[in-house]
Symmetry: C2
Subunit: 166 residues, 2 copies
DNA sequence: TGTTGCTGGTTAATATTTCAACTATTGAGA
DNA sequence: TCTCAATAGTTGAAATATTAACCAGCAACA
Protein backbone atom coordinates (compact mmCIF):
# COMPACT_ATOMS: atom_id res chain seq x y z
CA UNK A 1 0.00 0.00 0.00
CA UNK A 2 2.57 2.53 1.07
CA UNK A 3 4.57 1.91 -2.06
CA UNK A 4 2.10 3.89 -4.09
CA UNK A 5 2.36 6.82 -1.74
CA UNK A 6 5.95 7.48 -0.87
CA UNK A 7 7.64 6.63 -4.11
CA UNK A 8 10.64 8.50 -2.80
CA UNK A 9 10.76 8.58 0.99
CA UNK A 10 13.43 10.96 2.23
CA UNK A 11 16.28 9.59 4.31
CA UNK A 12 15.86 11.62 7.47
CA UNK A 13 18.96 12.56 9.40
CA UNK A 14 20.16 10.30 12.17
CA UNK A 15 20.74 11.79 15.60
CA UNK A 16 24.49 12.28 15.06
CA UNK A 17 23.91 13.65 11.58
CA UNK A 18 21.36 16.07 12.93
CA UNK A 19 23.78 17.29 15.56
CA UNK A 20 26.56 17.73 13.04
CA UNK A 21 24.35 19.58 10.60
CA UNK A 22 23.03 21.94 13.25
CA UNK A 23 26.54 22.58 14.50
CA UNK A 24 27.61 23.48 11.00
CA UNK A 25 24.67 25.77 10.43
CA UNK A 26 25.04 27.73 13.66
CA UNK A 27 28.80 27.68 13.59
CA UNK A 28 29.07 28.97 10.07
CA UNK A 29 26.66 31.82 10.81
CA UNK A 30 28.48 32.83 13.96
CA UNK A 31 31.77 32.68 12.12
CA UNK A 32 30.52 34.94 9.36
CA UNK A 33 29.29 37.45 11.91
CA UNK A 34 32.57 37.34 13.77
CA UNK A 35 34.71 37.87 10.69
CA UNK A 36 32.51 40.65 9.42
CA UNK A 37 32.64 42.38 12.74
CA UNK A 38 36.42 42.29 12.71
CA UNK A 39 36.50 44.06 9.35
CA UNK A 40 33.90 46.66 10.26
CA UNK A 41 36.39 49.11 11.78
CA UNK A 42 38.05 49.21 8.36
CA UNK A 43 34.77 50.16 6.74
CA UNK A 44 34.57 46.91 4.80
CA UNK A 45 32.59 43.73 4.67
CA UNK A 46 34.03 40.26 4.23
CA UNK A 47 32.43 39.98 0.80
CA UNK A 48 34.14 43.18 -0.30
CA UNK A 49 37.45 42.22 1.19
CA UNK A 50 37.34 38.93 -0.67
CA UNK A 51 37.17 40.82 -3.93
CA UNK A 52 40.15 43.07 -3.38
CA UNK A 53 42.05 40.17 -1.89
CA UNK A 54 41.54 38.12 -5.05
CA UNK A 55 42.57 41.08 -7.15
CA UNK A 56 45.74 41.57 -5.13
CA UNK A 57 46.81 38.01 -5.91
CA UNK A 58 45.95 38.14 -9.60
CA UNK A 59 48.70 39.06 -12.09
CA UNK A 60 48.56 42.78 -12.71
CA UNK A 61 46.03 43.15 -9.91
CA UNK A 62 43.27 42.71 -12.46
CA UNK A 63 40.50 40.22 -13.13
CA UNK A 64 37.43 40.07 -15.27
CA UNK A 65 34.12 40.60 -13.56
CA UNK A 66 32.88 37.14 -14.40
CA UNK A 67 36.04 35.45 -13.14
CA UNK A 68 35.76 37.45 -9.96
CA UNK A 69 32.13 36.54 -9.57
CA UNK A 70 32.91 32.85 -9.77
CA UNK A 71 35.89 33.14 -7.44
CA UNK A 72 34.04 34.81 -4.61
CA UNK A 73 30.65 33.22 -5.30
CA UNK A 74 28.65 36.33 -5.99
CA UNK A 75 26.03 36.75 -8.68
CA UNK A 76 26.91 38.85 -11.72
CA UNK A 77 24.59 41.55 -10.52
CA UNK A 78 25.99 41.53 -7.04
CA UNK A 79 29.58 41.76 -8.16
CA UNK A 80 28.64 44.78 -10.24
CA UNK A 81 27.23 46.53 -7.18
CA UNK A 82 30.13 45.46 -5.00
CA UNK A 83 32.58 46.77 -7.58
CA UNK A 84 30.71 50.07 -7.67
CA UNK A 85 31.16 50.47 -3.93
CA UNK A 86 34.84 49.63 -4.10
CA UNK A 87 35.27 52.04 -6.98
CA UNK A 88 33.60 54.82 -5.05
CA UNK A 89 36.08 54.13 -2.28
CA UNK A 90 38.92 54.51 -4.73
CA UNK A 91 40.21 50.97 -4.28
CA UNK A 92 39.52 49.71 -7.79
CA UNK A 93 38.82 51.03 -11.29
CA UNK A 94 37.00 49.48 -14.22
CA UNK A 95 38.79 49.00 -17.49
CA UNK A 96 37.52 47.77 -20.81
CA UNK A 97 38.72 44.38 -22.00
CA UNK A 98 40.96 44.58 -25.03
CA UNK A 99 40.18 41.22 -26.53
CA UNK A 100 36.51 40.90 -25.65
CA UNK A 101 34.67 44.16 -25.94
CA UNK A 102 31.80 42.91 -23.83
CA UNK A 103 34.19 42.35 -20.99
CA UNK A 104 35.23 44.54 -18.10
CA UNK A 105 38.27 44.13 -15.94
CA UNK A 106 38.42 45.30 -12.38
CA UNK A 107 41.84 46.70 -11.52
CA UNK A 108 43.24 47.27 -8.06
CA UNK A 109 44.52 50.82 -7.55
CA UNK A 110 47.53 51.71 -5.45
CA UNK A 111 45.20 52.86 -2.72
CA UNK A 112 43.40 49.52 -3.04
CA UNK A 113 46.62 47.58 -2.68
CA UNK A 114 47.51 49.58 0.39
CA UNK A 115 44.08 48.89 1.84
CA UNK A 116 44.45 45.15 1.29
CA UNK A 117 47.79 45.24 3.03
CA UNK A 118 46.38 47.08 6.01
CA UNK A 119 43.26 44.98 6.34
CA UNK A 120 44.87 41.61 5.71
CA UNK A 121 46.59 41.75 9.04
CA UNK A 122 43.39 42.28 10.94
CA UNK A 123 41.61 39.69 8.83
CA UNK A 124 44.09 36.87 9.29
CA UNK A 125 44.08 37.48 13.01
CA UNK A 126 40.33 37.18 13.16
CA UNK A 127 40.36 34.03 11.04
CA UNK A 128 42.80 32.48 13.50
CA UNK A 129 40.93 33.67 16.56
CA UNK A 130 37.49 32.70 15.34
CA UNK A 131 38.35 29.45 13.63
CA UNK A 132 41.82 28.02 13.17
CA UNK A 133 43.13 28.36 16.69
CA UNK A 134 39.96 26.88 18.09
CA UNK A 135 40.72 23.57 16.40
CA UNK A 136 43.47 20.99 16.44
CA UNK A 137 45.64 21.43 13.33
CA UNK A 138 44.57 18.15 11.71
CA UNK A 139 41.01 18.96 12.61
CA UNK A 140 41.14 22.20 10.69
CA UNK A 141 42.87 20.64 7.70
CA UNK A 142 40.32 17.83 7.69
CA UNK A 143 37.55 20.39 7.68
CA UNK A 144 39.24 22.06 4.75
CA UNK A 145 39.45 18.82 2.85
CA UNK A 146 35.78 18.12 3.41
CA UNK A 147 34.76 21.60 2.32
CA UNK A 148 36.95 21.21 -0.73
CA UNK A 149 34.85 18.24 -1.79
CA UNK A 150 31.68 20.23 -1.30
CA UNK A 151 33.12 23.15 -3.19
CA UNK A 152 34.14 20.97 -6.11
CA UNK A 153 30.79 19.24 -6.30
CA UNK A 154 28.72 22.41 -6.09
CA UNK A 155 30.93 24.59 -8.26
CA UNK A 156 30.41 22.50 -11.38
CA UNK A 157 26.82 23.34 -12.11
CA UNK A 158 26.18 26.14 -9.66
CA UNK A 159 28.08 28.52 -11.93
CA UNK A 160 24.82 30.13 -12.92
CA UNK A 161 24.53 32.27 -9.84
CA UNK A 162 22.35 34.70 -11.72
CA UNK A 163 19.04 33.54 -13.09
CA UNK A 164 20.73 33.32 -16.48
CA UNK A 165 20.55 29.61 -17.02
CA UNK A 166 17.18 27.91 -17.08
CA UNK B 1 65.09 47.60 14.98
CA UNK B 2 62.08 45.73 13.78
CA UNK B 3 61.01 45.03 17.31
CA UNK B 4 59.83 48.59 17.70
CA UNK B 5 57.70 48.33 14.59
CA UNK B 6 55.78 45.08 14.58
CA UNK B 7 55.00 44.73 18.20
CA UNK B 8 52.40 42.17 17.18
CA UNK B 9 53.25 40.55 13.84
CA UNK B 10 50.36 38.49 12.54
CA UNK B 11 50.85 34.79 12.01
CA UNK B 12 50.11 34.51 8.32
CA UNK B 13 48.48 31.35 7.07
CA UNK B 14 50.65 28.50 5.86
CA UNK B 15 50.02 27.11 2.41
CA UNK B 16 47.85 24.23 3.67
CA UNK B 17 46.00 26.53 6.03
CA UNK B 18 45.36 28.96 3.20
CA UNK B 19 43.96 26.19 1.04
CA UNK B 20 41.74 24.92 3.80
CA UNK B 21 40.45 28.37 4.64
CA UNK B 22 39.67 29.19 1.02
CA UNK B 23 37.93 25.86 0.59
CA UNK B 24 35.77 26.60 3.59
CA UNK B 25 34.93 30.09 2.41
CA UNK B 26 33.91 29.09 -1.12
CA UNK B 27 32.32 25.83 -0.06
CA UNK B 28 30.16 27.42 2.60
CA UNK B 29 28.96 30.09 0.18
CA UNK B 30 28.11 27.56 -2.51
CA UNK B 31 26.35 25.39 0.03
CA UNK B 32 24.22 28.28 1.23
CA UNK B 33 23.26 29.10 -2.34
CA UNK B 34 22.42 25.49 -3.06
CA UNK B 35 20.23 25.03 -0.01
CA UNK B 36 18.45 28.31 -0.59
CA UNK B 37 17.77 27.39 -4.16
CA UNK B 38 16.21 24.11 -3.10
CA UNK B 39 13.78 25.93 -0.84
CA UNK B 40 12.89 28.62 -3.36
CA UNK B 41 10.10 26.61 -5.01
CA UNK B 42 8.39 26.58 -1.62
CA UNK B 43 8.57 30.35 -1.43
CA UNK B 44 10.94 30.31 1.51
CA UNK B 45 14.51 31.09 2.37
CA UNK B 46 16.76 28.95 4.53
CA UNK B 47 16.81 31.61 7.23
CA UNK B 48 13.02 31.57 7.37
CA UNK B 49 12.80 27.81 7.32
CA UNK B 50 15.20 27.64 10.24
CA UNK B 51 12.79 29.70 12.29
CA UNK B 52 9.70 27.60 11.70
CA UNK B 53 11.78 24.46 12.06
CA UNK B 54 12.93 25.55 15.51
CA UNK B 55 9.38 26.41 16.44
CA UNK B 56 8.12 23.03 15.32
CA UNK B 57 10.51 21.33 17.72
CA UNK B 58 9.81 23.60 20.67
CA UNK B 59 7.18 22.52 23.20
CA UNK B 60 3.85 24.04 22.21
CA UNK B 61 5.38 25.21 18.95
CA UNK B 62 6.28 28.49 20.62
CA UNK B 63 9.42 30.37 21.47
CA UNK B 64 10.32 33.83 22.60
CA UNK B 65 11.73 36.15 20.00
CA UNK B 66 15.01 36.51 21.82
CA UNK B 67 15.45 32.75 22.24
CA UNK B 68 14.70 32.30 18.57
CA UNK B 69 17.17 35.00 17.61
CA UNK B 70 19.94 33.26 19.50
CA UNK B 71 19.02 29.85 18.13
CA UNK B 72 19.14 30.82 14.48
CA UNK B 73 21.79 33.50 14.82
CA UNK B 74 19.80 36.47 13.65
CA UNK B 75 19.88 39.95 15.15
CA UNK B 76 16.89 41.08 17.18
CA UNK B 77 15.90 43.42 14.43
CA UNK B 78 16.22 40.80 11.75
CA UNK B 79 14.16 38.24 13.60
CA UNK B 80 11.41 40.84 13.93
CA UNK B 81 11.33 41.28 10.15
CA UNK B 82 11.56 37.57 9.50
CA UNK B 83 8.68 36.95 11.88
CA UNK B 84 6.63 39.61 10.13
CA UNK B 85 7.06 37.82 6.80
CA UNK B 86 6.17 34.46 8.28
CA UNK B 87 3.15 36.01 9.95
CA UNK B 88 1.98 37.52 6.70
CA UNK B 89 2.23 34.05 5.19
CA UNK B 90 0.02 32.72 7.97
CA UNK B 91 2.62 30.34 9.33
CA UNK B 92 3.10 31.98 12.73
CA UNK B 93 1.34 34.38 15.05
CA UNK B 94 2.70 36.68 17.72
CA UNK B 95 1.45 36.32 21.27
CA UNK B 96 2.16 38.38 24.33
CA UNK B 97 4.21 36.78 27.07
CA UNK B 98 2.26 36.12 30.24
CA UNK B 99 5.07 36.36 32.73
CA UNK B 100 7.14 39.08 31.11
CA UNK B 101 5.04 41.77 29.52
CA UNK B 102 7.92 43.03 27.44
CA UNK B 103 8.19 39.66 25.79
CA UNK B 104 6.64 38.26 22.64
CA UNK B 105 6.26 34.64 21.76
CA UNK B 106 6.14 33.42 18.22
CA UNK B 107 3.69 30.56 17.82
CA UNK B 108 3.51 28.13 14.92
CA UNK B 109 0.03 27.92 13.40
CA UNK B 110 -1.49 24.74 12.00
CA UNK B 111 -0.73 26.00 8.53
CA UNK B 112 2.82 26.64 9.65
CA UNK B 113 3.20 23.13 10.99
CA UNK B 114 1.89 21.75 7.74
CA UNK B 115 4.37 23.88 5.83
CA UNK B 116 7.27 22.65 7.91
CA UNK B 117 6.22 19.09 7.22
CA UNK B 118 6.04 19.67 3.50
CA UNK B 119 9.27 21.59 3.23
CA UNK B 120 11.32 19.40 5.56
CA UNK B 121 11.31 16.61 3.02
CA UNK B 122 12.75 18.79 0.28
CA UNK B 123 15.20 20.37 2.71
CA UNK B 124 16.69 17.18 4.09
CA UNK B 125 17.15 15.89 0.58
CA UNK B 126 19.07 18.97 -0.43
CA UNK B 127 21.21 18.82 2.71
CA UNK B 128 22.14 15.26 1.80
CA UNK B 129 22.74 16.02 -1.86
CA UNK B 130 24.73 19.18 -1.31
CA UNK B 131 26.69 18.10 1.70
CA UNK B 132 26.32 14.86 3.61
CA UNK B 133 26.38 12.42 0.73
CA UNK B 134 29.42 14.14 -0.75
CA UNK B 135 31.49 13.14 2.26
CA UNK B 136 32.54 9.97 3.98
CA UNK B 137 30.42 9.45 7.11
CA UNK B 138 33.28 10.03 9.55
CA UNK B 139 34.35 13.02 7.50
CA UNK B 140 30.98 14.65 7.93
CA UNK B 141 30.80 13.86 11.64
CA UNK B 142 34.31 15.21 12.08
CA UNK B 143 33.31 18.40 10.36
CA UNK B 144 30.35 18.63 12.70
CA UNK B 145 32.55 18.19 15.72
CA UNK B 146 34.89 20.94 14.53
CA UNK B 147 32.03 23.32 13.84
CA UNK B 148 30.63 22.53 17.25
CA UNK B 149 33.82 23.85 18.81
CA UNK B 150 33.59 27.00 16.76
CA UNK B 151 29.96 27.41 17.63
CA UNK B 152 30.63 27.02 21.33
CA UNK B 153 33.52 29.46 21.29
CA UNK B 154 31.71 32.15 19.31
CA UNK B 155 28.32 31.78 20.93
CA UNK B 156 29.54 32.84 24.38
CA UNK B 157 30.17 36.48 23.74
CA UNK B 158 28.61 36.90 20.31
CA UNK B 159 25.18 36.88 21.90
CA UNK B 160 24.95 40.57 21.22
CA UNK B 161 24.00 40.23 17.61
CA UNK B 162 22.42 43.64 17.70
CA UNK B 163 24.46 46.66 18.61
CA UNK B 164 22.95 46.42 22.07
CA UNK B 165 26.06 45.65 24.04
CA UNK B 166 28.90 48.13 23.77
C1' DT C 1 7.96 55.38 46.31
C1' DG C 2 11.27 57.29 42.91
C1' DT C 3 15.39 56.71 40.30
C1' DT C 4 18.49 54.35 37.44
C1' DG C 5 20.13 51.06 34.35
C1' DC C 6 19.17 47.00 31.78
C1' DT C 7 16.47 43.83 28.77
C1' DG C 8 13.00 42.77 24.96
C1' DG C 9 11.25 44.14 21.07
C1' DT C 10 9.94 47.34 17.46
C1' DT C 11 10.56 51.00 14.04
C1' DA C 12 12.39 54.17 10.44
C1' DA C 13 16.13 55.13 7.65
C1' DT C 14 19.84 53.34 5.21
C1' DA C 15 22.59 49.85 2.93
C1' DT C 16 22.91 45.73 0.56
C1' DT C 17 21.13 41.87 -2.19
C1' DT C 18 18.13 39.87 -5.44
C1' DC C 19 15.19 39.82 -9.42
C1' DA C 20 13.89 40.83 -13.95
C1' DA C 21 14.69 43.38 -17.82
C1' DC C 22 17.93 45.22 -21.05
C1' DT C 23 22.16 46.37 -24.32
C1' DA C 24 26.15 45.02 -26.60
C1' DT C 25 29.15 41.61 -28.25
C1' DT C 26 30.65 37.12 -29.53
C1' DG C 27 30.48 32.73 -31.90
C1' DA C 28 28.36 29.10 -34.50
C1' DG C 29 26.10 27.86 -38.33
C1' DA C 30 22.94 28.46 -42.61
C1' DT D 1 27.09 37.54 -45.05
C1' DC D 2 23.03 36.98 -42.08
C1' DT D 3 20.73 35.07 -38.30
C1' DC D 4 20.28 33.33 -33.89
C1' DA D 5 21.55 31.69 -29.52
C1' DA D 6 24.64 32.38 -25.81
C1' DT D 7 27.70 35.30 -22.94
C1' DA D 8 29.22 39.70 -20.32
C1' DG D 9 27.84 43.12 -17.84
C1' DT D 10 24.70 46.78 -16.29
C1' DT D 11 20.50 48.86 -14.53
C1' DG D 12 16.32 50.01 -11.72
C1' DA D 13 13.02 48.30 -8.73
C1' DA D 14 11.69 45.25 -5.13
C1' DA D 15 13.04 42.47 -1.20
C1' DT D 16 15.84 41.78 2.61
C1' DA D 17 19.35 43.17 6.19
C1' DT D 18 21.66 46.43 9.17
C1' DT D 19 22.00 50.51 11.99
C1' DA D 20 20.62 53.60 15.30
C1' DA D 21 17.10 55.43 17.79
C1' DC D 22 13.20 54.47 20.42
C1' DC D 23 9.47 52.83 24.06
C1' DA D 24 7.84 49.78 27.62
C1' DG D 25 8.59 46.85 31.29
C1' DC D 26 11.66 44.75 34.65
C1' DA D 27 14.88 44.82 38.60
C1' DA D 28 17.76 46.66 41.93
C1' DC D 29 18.14 49.94 45.25
C1' DA D 30 18.21 54.36 47.76
Amino acid sequence: MTSTINADAPRWLTEPEQRAWRAYLRGSRLLEVSLDRALAPHGTQLSEYEVISMLSEAPGGRLRMSALADLVVQSRSRITHTAARLEKRGWVVREACLDDRRGVELVLTDAGRTAVGDIAQCHVTSVRDSMIDLLAPEEFLGLGKAMQKIRDALAEDGQATDAHTI
